[in-house]
Amino acid sequence: MYSQGLIGADGRTDETPEFLEAFQQRIDAEDKIEPNDAMPEGYRRTLVRQIGQHAHSEIVGMLPEGNWITRAPSLRRKAALLAKVQDEGGHGLYLYSAAETLGVSREQMTEELHSGKAKYSSIFNYPTLSWADIGTIGWLVDGAAIMNQIPLCRCSFGPYARAMIRVCKEESFHQRQGYEIIMTLAQGTDAQKEMAQDSLNRWWWPALMMFGPHDGDSEHSDQSMKWKIKRFTNDELRQKFIDATVPQAEYLGLKIPDPELKWNEEKGGYDHGEIDWNEFWSVVKGNGRMNRDRIKARRAAWDNGAWVREAATAHAEKRRARKMAAE
């Protein structure tokens, strides 16, 4: 509702100690910040980066699953997968709109994705090798996304929180359809069960990495918590995710690929082995198996769609001119 007026605006505010203090008081009082409100430049920048990354993740996230639409094993599975991928496109759009209210344009964000300046969730740089991967992605990747996103529904920035409420409502279907796929395989033939286990083996650790570096190594964490952009730390959310998914794997008769995973009665949660952070940073820096492919596919989609955008704009212009001539 507000974005057009803000695109290109420098959004600069005189950040006196009084202003920053008053802003923090609004946050502490759980007041929502709306697009035209004065806000510290750092708050705006953090949100543009985070919402942009989130939007890009939804858009790039369509690729690993789109890969399986034509090969879904039944019409029911195909319809569900199509609907899920369509939802993800929609989520990307809600989020781009929310980011635009902060004064950045869709085109600018798209350019930053294509140039590699903007990041997206590193999970989508892993390949989907089998049909079971579609189940695991729904179960674990969308499950992790739900853990991350539910607190974002209470984010201090109004448009982001509102977009997340819509996203979370839809995300639950994604997680459930994924679990159902894996459940079907886990209860199937030995080969199907093996396919499910193989998939869990490949996705478990990357799913844990989705929550980001340990709290001590996360550069934006403290300030984001203070501004109530984030409500829980990376490690807190990761722990909640592990505690929720280990029993789900047990139900399936699948084994979590972590020999150090153990219930810790004292903390009321699972202890787990160390994450391979070298792998994480390597994928973030562009060396995952699918990084180049993903960006190539996004660029191709943008370039090959250029004539459609141009034709639509030209058609709109022609209609406008014709209407004016008739008046």
């Binding site: 057009q4 004065a38 709109s97």
Partner: protein, 94 residues
């Protein structure tokens, strides 16, 4: 970038008898495509039976810096509320 398409605000009526409510925004070249995109993006799960799209540029909004002078005085005008007036119980409400 040459192809910046206009921004539209989307309003949806959940069912007859209710008002259209703002649900978000989207980019589209013209009103026909804006309506189609709004239907695809915002009504995938029975959210409504009617959609309005309005060019964002056509919205005139109040200035948040003036929110105080615009909206705070009403807080003091408690005589605008029925509870301001003391009426004996036996008289009752209308």
């Amino acid at each position: 970038m040459v192809n910046t398409t206009p921004l539209w605000e989307v309003f949806i009526r959940p069912r007859n008898g209710l008002a259209h409510k703002h649900v978000g925004s989207l980019h589209a070249a013209d009103e026909v495509m804006a309506l189609q995109a709004a239907r695809d993006v915002y009504t995938r799960r029975g959210e409504g039976n009617s959609v309005w799209v309005v060019p964002s540029a056509a919205v005139t909004a109040s200035d948040p810096d003036q929110a105080g002078e615009n909206f705070e005085p009403t807080g003091e005008k408690i005589y605008r509320h029925p509870t301001f007036y003391e009426i004996p119980e036996e008289v009752g409400n209308m």
